[in-house]
Amino acid sequence: MQVKVKFFATFREIFNANEIEIELESAPNLQQLLNSLCKSRKCRQQIFERSGELRPSVVILKNGRQIQSLDGVQTSLEAGDTIAMFPPLGGG
């Protein structure tokens, strides 16, 4: 199945892409998606804490909904889902 991932702000530099469509095995969750996206050690360090948890500076929305209000990285994915990934911008 295929999901769309959109990157914004500095995440475009981390993933070197604005948007990708990625093929996943059936019944995947967000953790599997992130594992597929973060192939390099550097990328993993920017997305995950040493403990394996998502860094607080990583915002992920599934179809507009914050994944922390769903099941976090265990949030299940379905074909056609759109995932948005970006950092919280704090300056003003």
């Binding site: 959109k6 914004f8 915002v59 209000s69 950092p87 919280p88 704090g90 300056g91």
Partner: protein, 179 residues
Amino acid sequence: MSGILVEDEIRRYERQIRIFGAEGQEKLRRMNPNVELEVISKAIDKDSVDKLASDFDMIVDAMDNFPTRFLLNKTALKKNISLFYGAVHGFYGQATTIIPGKTACLRCIFPKVPPPISFPIIAVTPGIIGCIQATEVIKYALRMGSSLANRLLMWDGLNAKIDEVALERNPRCEDCGRE
């Protein structure tokens, strides 16, 4: 009444087009003598925020940190005041319009206070995001057009691209949740 809340008027950044304080007040008054203008030189904190925002119909976020933004978010929700969020980092910017009870609030998007970091500023980016916020305020006041309600506008100055992300309310949101 609308409020442009700037946390610290003492700081004078190169990105500030308007100069606040008495000088800025006078300049704005000359530009439009029909506008009633009151400058309040007071820090926004948990003790002052309710009183500062009490008479406002709109709050424009011009903060440079998340803790104060979350204070404004809570106050806007409590007092049913629309909040116009805008933030920047280098060439990147974000903006959305938060209408209490109708749209995702700031806490729906950012459930946890992000760790404080020093962020780079390219002086033009706050100008672009500020103009987008101002456009939202004018449309909201005139009840015209479509607002950024439940849409997070993403400005990418490096690639000269504007995108948007659909937002949804979090029913279990700490600040605006209904569950």
